[in-house]
């Protein structure tokens, strides 16, 4: 019950944040230089045609009026019409959100598994060779730019050794099922996960090192528990809240990070859509994409807060 109340409280406090997000999204696009009418009608349009279009789109109205109209429509699930496609943004975006969430989930899985394993592997062996290797590895992972790592992995794993497909989510000609999806998912998920694995591993490792230096660990050792028992029973249990917290934070980062990965791997998600929309200056589509990324960020943090709360032994 306590947990449900906590979750509801966090959700309530997320609402003003989300409203703030809509304002920032709306305004940030207004600040972008450039004329929407010009990007719809093209260079061949005359000044009169441009004026007429601006008027018909309500672009001549004050900003506040434009925002309230936009926000009102948004509450009814209407993010507007894509200027480049003349299709509802929501219709285009919904499947893309699913695709990006798949990529994010794949990455998150790798982040949690490898982040945790690296921490458990290194922390109990503080300053050993293993520990130093893990620290070095995480430093490398954290420093690799996504676009570089992506192209290098593509070249070797997909092109040279033909272990994975190059691009897309399914085979274009003969789309396979779940296996085809996983096969396409591994490389982009790895690339997206790389730097987050490092972050999670490093933070979890330091927390575990702290935990393992606590007096009660010394007491446990005095009681004759083996190192494995101490790490698993006390170390892991007391590190979990930190792990969940830093892991949960990655949800937002990963979802934002898929923008780069999606372009490199041509993964048909929100990121690739955002890129296309920016190139086409498709304002409603840009707003939709940014809104989705921001919302996932906020909700991701909310989920992680709740999980941390549930895992914290002090709340038992």
């Amino acid at each position: 019950m306590n947990l449900v109340l906590f979750a509801l409280g966090r959700l309530a406090s997320a609402i003003p944040v989300l409203i703030g997000v809509t304002i920032v999204v709306f305004l940030s696009v207004q600040l972008v230089p450039g004329d929407i009418a010009l990007s719809i009608l093209g260079r061949m349009a005359t000044q009169d045609q441009l004026e007429a279009l601006r008027e018909s789109m309500g672009l001549d109205q004050p900003l506040v009026v434009q925002y309230l109209r936009w926000f009102g429509a948004l509450l009814q699930g209407d993010i507007g019409m894509s200027l480049a496609q003349q299709l509802p943004v929501a219709q285009i975006l919904l499947p893309k959100i699913g695709n990006s969430l798949i990529l994010m989930a794949g990455s998150l899985f790798l982040v949690l598994v490898f982040g945790f394993l690296l921490a458990v592997l290194s922390a109990p062996r503080f300053r050993s060779v293993t520990d130093r290797l893990v620290v070095a590895l995480t430093l490398v992972l954290a420093s690799l730019p996504v676009f570089w790592l992506g192209i290098v992995l593509l070249y070797f794993l997909a092109f040279k050794w033909k272990l994975f497909p190059i691009s897309g989510m399914y085979n274009v000609i003969n789309p396979g099922g779940f296996r085809d999806l996983i096969h396409h998912l591994i490389l982009p998920a790895t690339v997206t996960a790389a730097s987050s694995i490092a972050v999670v591993a490093r933070v979890t490792r330091s927390r575990m090192i702290d935990v393992l230096n606590e007096p009660y660990i010394l007491a446990a050792r005095a009681r004759g528990l083996t190192r494995r028992q101490i790490v698993l029973r006390h170390g892991v249990r007391n590190t979990l809240p930190t792990f969940a917290s830093i892991g949960g934070l990655q949800i937002g980062y990963l979802f934002g990070g898929v923008v780069f990965t999606e372009i490199i791997f041509n993964w048909p998600g929100v990121g690739l859509q955002l890129y296309d929309a920016i190139l086409a200056r498709d304002i409603p589509m840009i707003q939709g994409c940014v809104l989705v990324v921001a919302t996932v960020f906020v909700l991701g943090n909310l989920v992680s807060d709740v999980v941390v709360h549930a895992l914290d032994p002090r709340n038992d």
């Binding site: 349009a45 041509n266 190139l279």
Partner: protein, 529 residues
């Protein structure tokens, strides 16, 4: 009599098995084409970008068509499409089209003069129920001289112009900024204008199958297509936008796609080593240099001439595009009307340029700025071009900084006019028609209109371009355009530096892919062995 041997038996069995295995491939040929960006709208009247027209022109047709099936360097011939023939009145102002009979749209709606009128209304009549509001802006280059149109009888349709337009048929066959192509009236009535995006129904050699925005457009052979010469060889074509060039190239080499647009010039050798075929063709696209005639330095024509003389175009074409380009001079583009490869608006002469600068009062040169675009589509390393020009100009004493902008911001700036302090700017343009010159050199295109961005004012050019449109013959048209070219060269308001070839790479088994000198391609002859 042949002896039946074990080996013979084995051979025939293996051969038989191999043939059986090959059968499914023979039954269904799918070609995957990857271009540089995702597509805009499928409704031809509202579609934009050259890449989108690569799709649209296979689904929809107009009265006439450019024949892109043969490739080669010659300007593509205008051939009959939904009109079998046409008559142009003595005064050049009236076009009477005899429409092809027995043609139906992909949904079974018959093609006739009523369908033609429906589409003309859709594109040009603001009072029409299914008028496309963006069409006049996008299509003004086609219908700028339109006076009216009329159904003469079921298979005869007439279009009247206010003044003759020597390029009218060519403009009717083109696209990229809107496309004057025929949509099924029944489809528009059923699905509404916006519904055409999901139900693009035309008469073309391919039918629309599926579109996933941001992912792919799938088109399949129209078995009932009227033109046996353009009956598609492949069953299905999947068109994808893959913006990242390295991914496009790797996808081709891995066999995931069959044809890619604009591989990086640096990758050509690698692609060939992997068995890919490189197909190149002439393109109407060339790089125009705008010079700010209001700038205190460049307001002197001698300084502008010095810029022209400072550019080593031959080397630039050779090294910037690894030879997949030709140097250009002046304001007329290869593949466009009136182009003369022998024309020069200046000769490469850095010493002479320096002398001209000194004469203009800048013996020690001066500092200026270049505003540049990263470009899009088939632009490659435009920043490299800017740096090349920066180096060439520095040799004559003009020291310039470079500022790069994304394409949208860049064209907004061009519409506003070149900034104070910016002396030079450049972008790719050029079409198979000269419609684009109306947007670049005329006084009607001065800021705040696009794109006479260097404030070059010469009303004589407006007059000449209008006369060029009204020319009775191609020769007369070319002569007018030569006048335009020579005036621009004398004033040195614009020059150009190279025209890039279209470059595509195909998989080793792809056949029938040809390039004509145009921004778009014909995929009807493409298949796989």
């Amino acid at each position: 009599m042949t002896r039946l041997t074990f080996r013979g038996l084995l051979h025939s069995t293996v051969l038989g098995l191999a043939l059986t295995a090959a059968l499914p491939a023979l039954a269904e040929t799918t070609i995957v084409v990857a271009v540089e960006a995702d597509f805009s709208r499928m409704d031809p009247a509202a579609s934009r970008t050259w890449n989108t027209f690569k799709v649209v022109r296979h689904i929809f047709e107009g009265f006439v068509e450019e024949d892109l099936t043969k490739g080669g360097d010659a300007v593509p011939e205008i051939v009959p499409a939904l009109a079998t023939s046409w008559e142009i009145s003595e005064d050049g102002k009236s076009y009477t089209f005899t429409l092809r009979q027995g043609v139906t749209f992909h949904d079974g709606t018959p093609w006739n003069a009523e369908a033609a009128k429906f589409n003309m209304d859709r594109m040009t009549n603001p009072d029409f129920e299914f008028f496309v509001p963006t069409a006049p802006g996008l299509l003004s280059w086609v219908f700028m001289d339109l006076a009216g149109y009329e159904v003469v009888d079921e298979y005869t349709f007439r279009i009247d112009l206010k003044q003759p337009n020597a390029e009218f048929l060519r403009r009717l066959s083109a696209g990229g900024s809107g496309a004057p192509r025929m949509v099924s009236p029944e489809a528009v009535r059923t699905f509404g204008n916006d519904g055409i995006e999901d139900n693009p129904i035309g008469t073309g050699p391919f039918k629309f199958v599926e579109r996933v925005v941001g992912e792919k457009v799938v088109i399949a052979r129209n078995e009932a297509y009227w033109n046996p010469d353009r009956m598609p060889k492949a069953d299905t074509i999947v068109l994808r936008g893959i913006p990242e060039v390295a991914t496009r190239e790797l996808s081709l080499m891995a066999g995931e796609v069959d044809i890619i647009g604009t591989p990086s010039p640096d990758s050509i050798e690698t692609l060939q080593a992997q068995g890919a075929k490189i197909v190149t063709g002439k393109s109407p696209m060339f790089y125009v240099l705008w010079i700010n005639t209001k700038d205190p330095h460049f307001s002197d024509v001698r300084v502008r001439q010095a810029v022209c003389m400072a550019i080593n175009r031959e080397d630039m074409a050779k090294f910037q595009r690894k030879g997949f380009a030709v140097p250009t001079w002046g304001i007329l583009n290869p593949g466009g009307p009136g182009y003369d490869p022998a024309f020069r608006d200046c000769e490469y002469d850095p010493e002479g340029a320096k002398a001209l600068l000194a004469e203009a009062g800048f013996p020690d040169g001066f500092e200026t700025r270049m505003d540049w675009t990263f470009g899009g589509g088939s632009d490659v390393n435009t920043k490299g071009d800017a740096e090349w020009l920066q180096r060439d100009l520095e040799k004559i004493g003009i020291r310039s900084s470079i500022e790069m902008f994304d394409n949208n911001t860049f064209w907004d700036m061009m519409t506003a006019g070149m900034r104070e302090g910016t002396g030079l700017t450049s972008a790719s343009w050029g079409e198979s028609t000269f419609a684009w010159l109306d947007q670049v050199v005329t006084t009607t295109a001065l800021p705040q209109n696009c794109c006479n961005s260097g404030y070059y004012e010469n009303a004589k050019l407006d007059q000449l371009l209008s006369e060029a449109r009204a020319s009775a013959s191609q020769e007369a048209l070319d002569a007018k355009l030569h006048e335009v070219r020579d005036i621009v060269a004398a004033d040195m308001a614009f020059t150009s530096y190279y025209a890039a070839n279209s470059v595509y790479a195909t998989g080793p088994t792809v056949t029938g892919f040809v390039l004509a000198p145009q921004h778009w391609i014909d995929l009807t002859g493409v298949t796989k062995e």
